[in-house]
Each structure stands twice: as C-alpha cells, then as structure tokens.
Symmetry: C2
Subunit: 210 residues, 2 copies
C-alpha cells in the first residue's frame, strides 16, 4: 500500500533480507529520502523509533527460525537450495511493560531452541499455513507440500498443536493461514479441535490487549 | 492478485517489458508452467487466446506512446535517461465487431501520429493522472511534476482536453487518475468543465457496452 505514496517509514530487516532488497531495482520505488532501511542483527534487541525519531517504548528482537529461502529466490529444489541462509526466515519478539509477544508467521519445524524462546510468552502469533502437509496436493490446488514451502502443519504428531502442548504461553493465535486450511471455516471439525487445544484463529482487524 | 495463486493466464507484452520481467527474479513468482509470457511486436495485430487455447474473438495491437521509463528503472533524471525505449510505454487498441477501443493509461504528450490512431475510435480510455502539471508540488505531496512522471495534464493549452478537441471519437473516458486530481470530486468545478467537454471519469466496476 505504501509503494510510491511518499509516506515516511522505516524498514527494519535482517542483513540477508535488506541485501535482497538492495540487489533488486524494483524496491527503488521506496524512495531513499522517504523510506529508511535499517539492518538489525539477529538476536540483539533494539528499539524501533517513530519516523520523527520519538521513542516507540518497545524492545524488539529478530531471531532466526527454521524456514526456507523466498520463493522467487529459489535456485533449485534440493534441501540445501531450499534451506536458505540465516535471516531468510525470522521471528520477532516484542517486549513492553513486562509482557512479551512472539510473532512467527513462517516456521518449518519446532526446535528446542524455539521452545525455550516461546516459553512464558504472553502472546504467540504462529504460522498456521496448512492443516496437513499434503492439503494442497489433495485438493488439487498445486503440487507443493507444506514442507516444500517451509511450513510445518497445524495438525499431526510433529505439528504445531502437538508441539505447543508442553510450552506454557498465554494466548496462542494462528496467523498466515492459507485459503485451503479448514480452520478458516468457523464450524469445521478442525476449528473445534483447535479451540479445544486453546488456540485462536486470527482475523482481519483483530486486536490483542494485555 | 494472481501472484503465487496458480491461476493460469498469459502475460502479453512488448519485448522491452518482458525483458525487464525476465531480468528480475521477483517475477519468478509467476510460475512458468502456469503463466505464459508472450512477446508482442509493436504495431502488429494479434489475437489473444484464452488459456485453453480457444479464440477470444479480439484483434489487438500494441503501439508505442510518448512516455517514460518505469520509476524503478530510472538511472537519472536527464530527459534522455527518463525518456525510455520503444515499448516502455505502450497503448492498446482492441478491435471487435467493427468497434475500436483505444486504451492509453500513460501518455507524456499528444502527437500527430497518436491523433491519427485515435481518430474514429468508438471508445478511448486515456491517461487522466493530473489536472495540472504542478498539482502535486502545489499540494505539498511531492516534488514531481506530471511531465517528470511522464504524464501530460488534463487541463491547459497542451493538455488532454484541448488536444482531443479536434479528434472525433465516440466516448472519451479518463483513467489512471491520481488521488490529487480534483476531477475525482463529483461536484468540483474541474469535473463540471470535463463533463461539458464530453469527457467521462472512470470508476471502479465501470462497464462499457457497444
């Protein structure tokens, strides 16, 4: 929405992602004198500022997450080629007033390190792309599985719901949900299972209050 | 809207534009097995086909129009650097059942050649970006004039309204209208002047019937 509109803002990103933007002329539509780009090292907290320089009062950290290189940067489909580099897929931790929100819209698998990061969070917004790995293939929507796209599934023994059972967090909310995912249907069996496990499904305009 | 959605369609374009797409990896999101790209020589008619290969019944021609290189491909702001190459800015003429529609969403100036092309068209959809050349500067929206952006203005002695006075066409409709253009306000003086000159202003969902 902001392209070419001359609304000042700052793009915070990993060195990897900002390098991709620098290398592609199409992102020059974000005029340098209007849109600042700031490289954020992974694993270090920083305070984003409003464009007038005033404090946001937030303490923010980017961290690497198991994922995949961006679709348009794929050079082949071997695991090595798809895995991406550090900073290709990141999560964001936002801390303020003693509360902690963790935002992970894409995640290829749960790890012990990620569990430690998530433990005790007030709110987690997590990758809810597919209900099951072969969902798009079965529906005839495309040949790719969730794993091929860099997303763990919501259901299944290694899925998101199972992985979160031993992580204590406040609210758990699924985001980045593909249109093939049955949890988008309010009265689906999958949605009911999800609710029983204490998960919410994000919706347009959702607001989360402390 | 179609990015990554695996809806089959064909991109028809000038050699220049399809070359720009080929050179930029971000357009690889349009999967080759799903979105075909077809180079169309300027000034030659062709029949676009539906993705199943069936006939569209349309006779279409791309033609060069005075314009500008795309914003993100600018290498400097001298007239030479901005002018672009053949195929950077094109119009489209669509013929069917004896009717002729000419679509020119961007045009830097009216030429005699363009007037000959437009003469006798059933419908013209034409560049309505700005009312006056310095409109965005005066409103404090940005430093660029219409000419700097490759657009002639609607008003003024060399503007669109004046240029069309000696061209006989059926319906004349302005498209590609910037949000700073007062013709977007239904009861503005500029809109009234436009109507008196026989011009219409396009709107979302507009349909044009023979």
């Amino acid at each position: 929405m902001h392209l070419r509109e001359r609304q000042a803002f700052t793009v915070y990103g990993s060195d990897r992602v900002l390098g991709v933007l620098r290398a592609n002329p199409i992102f020059n539509v974000l005029a340098e004198d209007c849109v600042r780009r700031e490289t954020i090292p992974l694993g270090q907290s920083f305070e984003p500022r409003h464009v007038d320089g005033s404090s946001s009062g937030l303490d923010v950290e980017l961290f690497d997450v198991p994922g995949k290189v961006a679709l348009y940067l794929e050079t082949g489909s071997s695991p090595d080629q798809l895995a991406g580099r550090p900073g290709d897929t990141v999560g964001v931790e936002i801390r303020s007033g003693g509360e902690r929100l963790v935002y992970i819209p894409g995640c290829a698998q749960m790890t012990d390190g990620l569990k430690r990061r998530l433990a005790g969070a007030s709110v987690v917004l997590f990758d809810g792309t597919l209900w099951r790995d072969d969902e798009m293939v079965r529906l005839g929507l495309g040949p790719k599985t969730g794993q091929r796209m860099g997303h763990m599934s919501v259901s299944g023994p290694d899925g998101t719901v199972a992985s979160f059972r031993d992580i204590r967090v406040g609210r758990k909310i699924l985001v980045h949900i593909n249109n093939s995912n049955p949890i988008l249907v309010d009265d689906s069996a999958e949605r009911a299972m999800l609710s029983q496990e204490g998960w919410e499904v994000a919706c347009d305009g959702m607001e989360v209050s402390p």
